[in-house]
């Protein structure tokens, strides 16, 4: 019996991912861990943008909500709240008592639940308000961009509550374990890797289910879906809510790896950069989202440290080239059915051109 090569490649990648802490050095491991955390968010973008046709330029908001939820707990852990202890940055900005909404975050379980629920519920509610009035497409993208701008300026301006421009940093323990050691970094890496695999499997299953079929149908012809008697809004809202929750998980894991969460990671530019990872990797293929995230981020790490201004030119060019010449991304070049899909896409885009005209 011959094993198809893709299974061999998958097994090799899994083995490498699981054993990475023993193979690569600590610095590379920390980068890989961060970028894998980001790829959880990227899979969410693949779900909304690639499969549901909803372009969000505000995923950084949900990433930030997840990251801040965990970071708020990390700032409180080890403090004696009854004694009136407060996080260091609040003392510096002259706050006298801990704000009420910070209190529940002293509980790790509450904070971890918030990492998933707050961004997921917020994304679902936000998108429902927009989609229920049949506003979508370009309008939705622009509204999410405004959301990213509002969120990041709000974080910066509320210095006393959010740590302002510097964000939240200087974490020490989680569940009583020191998270700054070499050993902890490995454990956090494994947790991240496990999440990537679980999310991948879950989304694989979801996209082949009836839900996935309806989602693609909504993307390709929302009005036809309506004519067939389905309401497309819940499908889109669920997809966007899921993507929000995934972004939150990614944000929390990234915060653990990086040891900091700040407005610089959640604003307009980072949010739109997240889309380019998926555009480069392949918006319709799940592993493409992971591959694109790793590729673009490692490239950024290499280029931006040596030639900072070159990176922005490169990023700009990447946007233009990826969407103009490589709409299916890198993964699309390997995908066996990409020819059929490209024909399909051409037909669909032609139909859209006619209706747009």
């Amino acid at each position: 019996m011959r094993i198809p090569p893709k299974y061999i490649i998958a097994a090799l990648l899994l083995a490498f991912g699981a054993l990475a802490p023993f193979i690569i050095n600590a610095y590379q491991l920390s980068l890989l861990g961060r970028f894998l955390a980001l790829s959880i968010l990227a899979m969410g973008i693949m779900l909304t943008w690639g499969e549901a046709g909803i372009l969000s330029l505000g995923q950084g908001v949900f990433f930030g909500l997840g990251g801040y939820a965990l970071a708020m707990h990390l700032k409180l852990e080890g403090l004696n709240l009854a004694n009136g202890d407060m996080p260091d940055f609040m003392v510096w900005s002259g706050v006298s008592t801990l704000p009420a909404f910070w209190y529940p975050f002293a509980s790790p379980v509450f904070a971890l639940a918030c990492v998933v629920i707050v961004p997921g519920a917020f994304a679902a509610a936000f998108s429902w308000l927009v989609f229920r009035r049949r506003v979508g497409g370009v309008y939705f993208a622009l509204i999410t961009q405004a959301l990213a701008l509002a969120f990041s300026t709000l974080l910066i301006s509320q210095q006393a509550l959010t740590g302002g421009f510097n964000g939240l940093t200087n974490f020490s323990t989680l569940f009583g374990y020191d998270i700054t050691t070499q050993r902890a970094a490995q454990v956090i890496y494994w947790i991240t890797f496990l999440f990537v695999v679980l999310v991948y499997v879950f989304l694989r299953w979801l996209l082949t289910s009836r839900y996935g079929v309806m989602l693609r149908a909504t993307r390709d012809g929302e009005n036809r879906v309506r004519f067939l008697g389905h309401n497309p809004v819940p499908y889109k809202v669920v997809a966007f809510g899921l993507a929000g929750a995934l972004a939150g998980i990614g944000g929390a894991l990234f915060t653990l790896h990086a040891g900091v969460v700040s407005p610089a990671l959640v604003g307009v530019v980072p949010s739109i950069e997240m889309v380019v990872w998926v555009a480069v990797g392949g918006r319709n293929i799940l592993w493409g989202a992971i591959a694109g995230t790793l590729l673009v981020n490692f490239a950024k790490d290499q280029i931006s440290s040596a030639f900072p201004s070159l990176w922005l030119y490169g990023l700009g060019a990447l946007f233009i080239l990826a969407v103009s010449f490589l709409p299916a991304g890198i993964a699309g070049m390997f995908h066996p059915s990409s020819r059929e899909e490209s024909v399909m896409r051409r037909i669909l885009s032609r139909r859209k051109l006619r209706t747009a005209e």
């Binding site: 936000f126 701008l149 509002a150 201004s309 922005l312 946007f319 969407v323 885009s349 209706t355």
Partner: protein, 302 residues
């Protein structure tokens, strides 16, 4: 200062901010009506206009520099816009979301180019002496109301540009073609209208107007590589509120956004005002999802 004078001052500020939004959003709205695409590099046309004003004033200092700078910025930004339309946007027609991303790439490149050419800190354009006065009302119920000349100048420019564009759209043959393509592209094309050329010229016109707005922006503050970014997000919201490619809709929406921001900033700080503006937009589309001005059409999609 009287309460009423303060309120009136804020309203006046709102109008002058709104007129900047009109100039910035006009091109976006017109092109969106024609081609259903949004140019994310539109904010960089403002920036370009600002830098062109700076360069013009280097060559022609003195009171008339700013008068010369306006046509220079208009033509310069228009040419860049035409190149952008021809090279990027036209290639991606009928893929609005991809156009969004590609033009964002263009915007990043233009910002970085400006950073390399002029530095990250920004350049100052000083208003000429004839724009340096402030009309202060010293007596009566409105005592203490300040009306800076530059702000009045902005209102006048926006009014003139709006009038010219309205005349162009409603009185000329080109305007007739634009409206025809806007309504029904295939039929217009079948009647011999060169729809492609209409797209290109409207796009170039829109970016030119944005360049003009950039000159005004330069009078208000330093021109930095990211100066366009702070005005372009409200301009996008104006397009959403305004409705498809409608001049009247864009004007009303600009006034709504400008006045809303100016009045809300009396009570809350700028960052909270931004959040409330977004909340306002989302509430607004619950009632009028197609914007202030709805174009009645039998087409379902688009």
């Amino acid at each position: 200062m009287h309460e009423s004078a303060f309120l009136l001052g804020q309203i006046f500020n709102g109008f002058s901010v709104a007129s900047l939004f009109i100039l910035a959003a006009l091109g976006l709205a017109l092109s969106f009506g024609l081609m259903r695409v949004i140019n994310m590099a539109h904010g960089e046309m403002l920036m370009l206009g600002g830098y062109l004003a700076y360069l013009t004033l280097q060559v022609i200092p003195g009171p008339l520099g700013i008068i010369v700078a306006m046509p220079v910025a208009f033509v310069g930004a228009g040419i860049i816009g035409a190149i952008l339309e021809f090279a990027v946007i036209h290639r991606l027609s009928a893929r609005p979301l991809d156009t969004l991303l590609a033009t964002w790439g263009v915007s990043l490149i233009l910002q970085q180019a400006a950073r390399n050419l002029f530095g990250a800190i920004g350049v100052e354009v000083t208003a000429p002496a004839w724009l340096n006065h402030t009309i202060t009302i010293s007596s009566g119920p409105l005592a203490g109301l300040d009306l800076p000349d530059t702000r009045i100048f902005i209102l006048i420019i926006a009014g003139v540009v709006l009038g010219l564009i309205a005349a162009l759209l409603n009185k000329t043959r080109l305007g007739l073609y634009v409206r025809a393509v806007n309504q029904d592209r295939p039929t217009a094309a079948a009647m011999g209208v060169n729809a492609r050329l209409i797209d290109l010229s409207v796009f170039a016109l829109g970016t030119g107007v944005a360049g003009l707005a950039g000159v005004i922006l330069a009078l208000l503050g330093p021109v930095t590589p990211t100066v366009g970014q702070s005005y372009i997000v409200p301009a996008f919201l104006v397009v959403i509120l305004g409705g498809l490619g409608s001049l009247v809709g864009t004007t009303i929406a600009s006034l709504i956004v400008g006045l809303f921001t100016a009045l809300i900033e009396i009570f809350v700080d700028v960052s909270v005002a931004q959040v409330l503006l977004l909340v306002f937009v989302i509430v607004f589309i619950q009632f009028r999802p197609q914007g202030v001005i709805t174009v009645h059409t039998r087409a379902l999609e688009g």
